[in-house]
Assembly symmetry: C2
Amino acid sequence: MINAAGREIPESIPGLKKVVPYAGPFTLIPQNRMAGPRLSVNLPKSDKLLTSIDQALDAVGLKDGMTISFHHHFRNGDYLLNSVVEAIARRKLKGITLAPSSLTDVNQAIIPFIEAGVITAIETSGARGALGRLITDGRLARPVIIRSHGGRARAIECDDLHIDVAFIGAPCCDCYGNINGTEGKSACGSLGYAMVDAAYADKVVAITDNLAPHPIFPVSIPQTQVDYIVEVASIGDPKGIASGALRISKDPRELLIAEFAARVIEYSGYFRDGYSLQLGSGGAALATAKFIREKMLARSITASFGVGGVTAPFVGMLEEGLIKTVFDTQDFDIVSIESLKKNPNHLEISASYYANPHSRGPIVNNLDFVILSATEIDVNFNVNVITDSNGVLMGASGGHCDTAAGAAVSIVVAPLLRGRLPMVRDRVHTIITPGETVDVVVTERGIAVNPQRRDLLDCLKSAKLPLMSIEELQKIAYDLAGKPEPVEVTDEIVAVVEYRDGSVLDVIRKPR
Amino acid sequence: MINAAGREIPESIPGLKKVVPYAGPFTLIPQNRMAGPRLSVNLPKSDKLLTSIDQALDAVGLKDGMTISFHHHFRNGDYLLNSVVEAIARRKLKGITLAPSSLTDVNQAIIPFIEAGVITAIETSGARGALGRLITDGRLARPVIIRSHGGRARAIECDDLHIDVAFIGAPCCDCYGNINGTEGKSACGSLGYAMVDAAYADKVVAITDNLAPHPIFPVSIPQTQVDYIVEVASIGDPKGIASGALRISKDPRELLIAEFAARVIEYSGYFRDGYSLQLGSGGAALATAKFIREKMLARSITASFGVGGVTAPFVGMLEEGLIKTVFDTQDFDIVSIESLKKNPNHLEISASYYANPHSRGPIVNNLDFVILSATEIDVNFNVNVITDSNGVLMGASGGHCDTAAGAAVSIVVAPLLRGRLPMVRDRVHTIITPGETVDVVVTERGIAVNPQRRDLLDCLKSAKLPLMSIEELQKIAYDLAGKPEPVEVTDEIVAVVEYRDGSVLDVIRKPR
C-alpha cells in the first residue's frame, strides 16, 4: 500500500503488532488507554542494593527474548549499554531486543553480540558508523524500528514498546533509588529520556557511580519506580558525556544560512514578545542563535521559553533574561548541565512532556519556531536526516518530526550542495519528517516556503530574502551538480520509520 | 467472615468490585498492572480555555452515574467542590459518585444535593460535622468507602477508583494547563493529592483564579494532563486555606504526652544522625516537635528528612538545618506555603510517592518515626481516628495507617481519658490502623509498647518512662471512668474502611 507520504509500505512488518500507514500528521486519534505499569511492592526498610550487574540480571530474571532499554544522555561517554550487553552475552542469552533512546558511536562495541545472536532486534532513534552499516546490511533478525523522541515516549506509554528491564545510568542515586543527573563525576544533566523508561518498564535497575545517603534532591526519577540499585566504579567518561567548549561556526556558508534563518524568524509574523523556539545542536542552528539574540536585543523582545537538547548559547540567553524558561530533555555541554543544576528557570522535562503526541499537549505544541537540519529535502518538503547518499543509516530521528509538527513555523536549514551532491532533490531516500509539517527550507542560495503556508510567504516578501520555489532550488542544485542517481535498493526491509503517532511513514530497504 | 483484625466483614459490599478481607499489613501482593490513563490528543495551539464551569461540564460530557474528584488542599477555604456540585445539580444529573481526597466542614453545603440524589456515593478519606452524621445515618445509596491517602493513590492508580472527571483547584495555571499551588491569591502550597487525580482521570479540568501566560514554573501538574481550563473569580478563601499563626499547646497534659513521646524517640535506638520523622498536625504532635528539636540540638543530631502535612515548626527545623529535606503533600499554614515556594530543600510530592503501598517504595517506607493521634486505642493496639463515642463519623483516615505501616517506630499519642471516656479500651469502635503496625502508645499516665516490639521495650527501659502493658493502661482508664458501653449498632453498613492495600479492614454500621 502507498501511504499519505507517497511511500510503499508492506501490509505487515515483523516486530510491529499492526502496520498502520501514515495518513497525515494529526489524523491518527488513539481510542484506547495507556499501558498500566506493573504493580509492585517494596517492604519498608528493604534493601535495593545489589553488588554487580550480574546480580541485577539475576534479580530481574532476564531471559531470552526480553526487551531492555537504555538512555543516551551519556552519548559517546556511555559505559552502561556496552557493559550490560556484555554481561548478558556472558550468560549466553539470545534474542534480546535492545531499545535505547538512541545509539552512539561508542555502542559499536556491541556488534559482536549482534553477530552472535545475543541482540536480534533494535528499536531506537537512530544509529551511525559501523552500527548503522550493520543495520543497513540487514544483519538483525527483524527490521530496526526507528522512532522519534516523542514517538518513543508514546510507544512506551501505550505498550507498543514494552520494556522488560530498563537500565538507568544514574549520576546521583540514593540508597532507596531516587535519582538525579546533575550531581557526581558522571553528571549528564537532564534524564528526560530515562524518565519514561523508569515509569513504564516492568523492572528498573539504577546503575550508579555516585551512591548517596537517602534522600537526595532534586529527584528526576523517584524511588517509587526503581527496583534495584547497582554501584559500579564508573558509568561514563565525562569527556564523552559533555563537551567543554562549543563549536562556533566560522564556515561562511553556514553563517549565511543562519543569517537567512534568523531573518525568516524575524519577518515571519510570529517574532514577538513571548515567542518560543527550539534550536538544534547543528552548526547552522547554533549560529542562528547568535543572530536571533541580536534581533531580540534590537527589538527588546524576550522569549517565553526555549526547548531542546540544551547548549551553551541557550543558557547564555536564559541568563541574560532573553529567554524566560528553558525546557530540557538533554544537555550537550557542561555549561548546560551546570545551568540545570543551579537555575530554577531551567526545567528538566521528560520526553513525554517534550513531544508525546498522544497526550493533552506536549511542549512542542507550544513552539513558535524550530530550526532543524537535513541531509536531504525533496520538492514535497519531505526531510531525510537518517540515511546518507548510499542509503546507509547514519543519523537519528530525534525530535525532528515532533517539533516540525508542533511548531508554528518549522525551518529546515541545509547547504544546497554537500560536495557534489544536491541536498534539494526530487525525492528523499528516507522520510523522517513529512513535508506537510515543514514550512520553510533555507539554503545559502535561496529560501523556499511551503506553498500551503501562503501566510508565511506573504510575511517574508518584505524581508529581502532570496525567496523561490522549492522546484527552483532543486533546479539550481541539479544545474550545479547534475541530477543525483537514486540509491538502488533490494526488496529487503532493514528498518521501519515510524511517525510519532505510531503509523509507518517509511521503510529503509537494503541497498543493492 | 472475620478478617485478620478480628472484624466481621460481609462477603460483598455495594461499590466494591470484590471484598478482600484484611489479612495483615503486607500480605496482599498485587499481581496485575496499574491502570492505563486515557489516551488523548491535543492539537498544537489548540485552546483549552473555557468560560465557565457549566461549559466545562459540557466539554467533559458529564453524565448520570459518573465519578468526579476533588482535592482538599483548600480545606475550609474551598469554594470549588461546592460550586461544581451545585452546577451539576442545576443540570439535574443524578447518581454521581463524589471522590474527593477528603471532605471538610465547608462541604456540608452539598447536603441538599445528597438528599436530592445528585450525589449518591462518596469515596474519600473521611468526613465530620453534619456530613459525618448524614453518612452515619446511611443516607447514601451505598456505603461510603474510606481510604487512607496512600490507599487512595493506590486505588486510583490500579483503577479500583476510576475517576471520570477530576476538578483541580489551581492557584496558578497557565493558558495551556501547567499548574502550581504556590503562587496567587489562593495559594495552598503542595498539590500532592491532586497530582494523582490529574495523572489518571479520564478528563481533567483546571479551575483557576490566577490565569498566567504560558509557561509557568515550577510545574506541579503538567499541561500534558489537563484537558480544559476555567477561569473564575475565586477558588478559595485564603483565611480558610491556611492558618496564619500556629496553635502552640499550653495544655499541661498535652505537653506531658509530648515530652513522653519525645523521650520514646530519644531512647528508641533509632534516634541517630540521619533519622527521619513525620509529625501530625495535632496539638501533642506539634508540641513533640519542640521537645525533639531540643534533643537534636543537645545531641548534635540532624534528620535526613521530615514528611507530612507540613506546619511551621517543621519549616523552622528545616531552616535551622536540623532537618535536611521536607517532603510535602499538603501545607497547613502560610509559613509552609512560603517555604515550599522558596526553599529548594522543601519538596512537593504526590500522595503516591508519599504512601502508595503498591509501588517500589513510597517515602513512608523510609520513616523512622511517626507521631499519630487517636480517638480510641484498644488492647490489641488497634487505633480509631474516625468515629466518635456515639459511632458517628467525625474524622479522616489521612496518612494514619500508611505511616504506621511504613515507620520503624509508630507512636500513638492520646490522653488516657477524654472527659469521662477512656481512650484505651477493650475494643475500638472502628479500626483505621491495625495494632500490628502500632508500636508505642503514649498517654499522660503511662506508655505501652506493643509486645511484638521487645527490641523497643528493651531500649526504653532506661528512659525513666512510666512503662506498662496496654492492659494496665486500660485498667487505669476503666478504674477512673468506668467501663465504657459499646456503641449499639444495626446491621446496616454505612461505610467501609479499606486498608491501604485495598483489603477491607473494618466496616462502620449505623448506630441503633
